[in-house]
């Protein structure tokens, strides 16, 4: 039997001071795919804010995102072309029910290839039944370098304490 290949590379839990972003750097090139699992909440105003993903410190207009979003009462879809980040969905903000965190999973296949990089992400946020968002996102980063770092940024204010981030590597052999 082959060996299991889902391996925790690094994790980060935000402390009491909050954090506007979290970066995983020096990502090893020994895996095939990357998987990120996060549980987050924002300190910014409103009931929800967005969450953004960047690779290798590239904050230029090199990201395209297509997403489908359900709010509990309607569904919409948008496409962001040439943006400075990949939109990975919404998370609860200060106006949402307290102690409620949003969950998100991001999959990045073939992250060391010399091709442009594709992204799949699923995200949910909940406001105790009064509002919710579910986002399915497809992303493309035009960079052709291997991904060696990734940054997750809170759209409004800081990530609050206990927001958690886990980066896994997956090998196909």
């Amino acid at each position: 039997m082959a060996n299991p290949t889902m391996t925790l590379i690094a994790s980060n839990t935000v402390g009491s001071g909050g954090a506007s972003s979290v970066t995983f750097s020096s990502i090893p090139s020994t895996f095939t795919d990357l998987l990120v699992k996060i549980s987050t909440r924002a300190a910014g105003s409103g009931t929800a804010t967005n969450q953004q993903l960047n690779f290798n410190g590239d904050f230029g207009g090199n990201y395209t995102s297509v997403f489908a979003e359900g709010t509990g009462s309607s569904a919409v879809s948008y496409k962001n072309t040439g943006y400075s980040f990949h939109f990975i969905g919404n998370i609860p903000a200060a106006g949402a029910t307290s102690s409620t965190f949003g969950n998100c999973e991001i999959y990045i296949p073939n992250y060391t290839s010399s091709n442009q990089k594709s992204i799949s992400s699923d995200s949910v946020t909940e406001n105790n039944g009064s509002a919710a968002n579910q986002d399915l996102s497809a992303g493309l980063w035009t960079g052709t370098s291997a991904i060696t770092s990734l940054t997750l940024t809170c759209g409004s204010g800081n990530y609050v304490q206990y927001s958690s981030f886990y980066l896994y590597g997956i090998k196909n052999s």
Binding site: S77, L136, N172
Partner: protein, 161 residues
């Protein structure tokens, strides 16, 4: 700690650029679930076909966004497999599918998939195969469209214990 190994690669393929079908055969029956991860370039439909069954024994329901509108639909009695995704552009598409409890011989088989193409599609699908046979082969089938030579396909086994 569970004794069984989980998230184990069973097989992986890179497309030749002139094929419409990637088949995982002789799938070991030692896992609980299966997971397919594919990173592919093509414009066409993605079907999952089990055990070579081309009959009208598949059903799917999906929700999708195209970048301009969101919709949901359903197809029943589908032939040649369950259509679980769609490549719409020359971009790299991420296609993932989870097939649950595949080795049992009592229940019909179900699958969940995600299809992400930044050219214009974010889709989630659920599929049903009305057959109680254990799954021993899976064809990732695209009628009428070749997978590019940069397309990769990996089958993983997921063990519950």
């Amino acid at each position: 700690m569970a004794a069984g190994a989980t998230y184990v690669p069973i097989a992986t393929y890179t497309a030749s650029g002139s094929t419409t079908t990637i088949t995982f055969s002789s799938i070991p029956q030692t896992y609980t679930d299966l997971r397919i991860i594919s990173n592919l370039v093509f414009s066409g439909q993605i079907y999952l076909q089990f055990n070579g069954d081309t009959g009208g024994n598949y059903s799917i329901t999906y929700v999708q966004g195209t970048g301009s509108s969101a919709s949901s639909g359903r197809t029943t009695n589908q032939t040649n497999g369950m259509q679980m995704g769609y490549g719409v552009s020359s971009n790299l598409t991420v296609f993932t599918a989870d097939i649950f409890n595949y080795a049992n011989t009592t229940t019909y088989k179900t699958a969940l998939s995600r299809d992400s193409d930044a050219g214009g599609l974010a889709q989630a699908s659920v599929g049903l195969w009305r057959n109680t046979s254990n799954i021993t082969s899976i064809a990732v089938y695209s009628p009428g469209a070749n997978y590019s030579s940069t397309s990769t396909f990996t089958l993983y086994g997921i063990a519950s214990a």
